[in-house]
């Protein structure tokens, strides 16, 4: 039953992917909508003063996104630290008990 379900999911997803990639809706080298990116390319330099437009998008136009990303990184390291501190404390306890 479980294997049947997994096979069904994979067949449906792969047929969708194959349809999307071969039906001609997506064409490599010809993006469908470019208005926002053309705006960034034309006005990014005068509005932010950075030559690298990707950095201008990351740190200026989408600054909130980057703030959330930095927070995620901080919280992840906090979580890893808490996990390993707990593990090491348990190791110590087992050592003392044994």
């Amino acid at each position: 039953m479980r294997n049947l379900l997994i096979t069904a999911i994979l067949v449906v997803l792969s047929s969708t992917f194959v349809y999307v990639t071969t039906s001609g809706q997506l064409q490599f080298g010809k993006p469908a909508q470019t208005r926002m990116d053309d705006y960034f390319l034309r006005h990014g330099q005068e509005q932010t003063g950075a030559n690298n437009i990707v950095t201008a998008v990351v740190f200026d136009f989408r600054g909130f996104d980057t703030l959330g990303e930095a927070t995620v990184l901080f919280v992840v390291v906090l979580g890893v630290g808490m996990l390993f501190r707990k593990l090491m404390a348990e190791e110590e306890e087992e050592e003392q008990a044994a």
């Binding site: 330099q45 005068e46 950075a50 703030l67 930095a70 390993f84 090491m88």
Partner: protein
């Protein structure tokens, strides 16, 4: 690791560090930025951890250094974003871009050779994010290696 590996790592370490800080500082001119440069610097730290004995390297790369780097980076980022609220119009406003002084030179539009003194708060945000990523990735490496070393020591004592 053997003598050859640790000597080669000692030789390569300053070059990796210089390359990483170059990527962070020139993030607004050339490919790169805070995230990529911080990852390169953390690679240098991982190289030193991998090439030397733990008891030789642990007193040099202390956990407190990486902790401080990470916290200072995030606080600097949020502080610069809030400064936009007071000096400019909105949160994360690029308030240094037009003021002559620190990174405030007017950029020449179109294709240009590039000047380090442009970009407003973008180079400062790059430095902040570079500090944070360097601290975060080095701390993850540090925790994993410290745990592995402690496991080995405990197993050894148990036998």
């Amino acid at each position: 690791m053997s003598k050859i590996v640790s000597a080669a790592a000692d030789f390569l370490y300053p070059f990796v560090m210089i390359f990483g800080f170059y990527i962070v500082l020139h993030g607004h001119l050339t490919p790169g930025g805070g995230f990529q440069g911080g990852a390169v610097i953390a690679t240098g730290v991982a190289l030193m951890f991998a090439a030397h004995r733990y008891r030789d390297i642990a007193p040099i790369f202390k956990k407190a250094i990486f902790n401080t780097c990470e916290t200072v980076g995030l606080v600097l980022f949020i502080g610069l974003a809030f400064a936009g609220l007071f000096y400019g119009k909105s949160f994360m406003y690029n308030w240094l871009a037009r003021i002559p002084g620190l990174f405030g030179e007017q950029v020449s539009y179109g294709v240009n050779p590039g000047s380090l003194d442009t970009g407003g708060i973008i180079p400062l945000l790059n430095i902040a994010v570079g500090l944070e990523v360097l601290g975060a990735l080095s701390l993850v490496i540090y925790y994993l290696l410290t745990y592995v070393v402690q496991m080995g020591v405990n197993k050894h004592h148990g036998q």
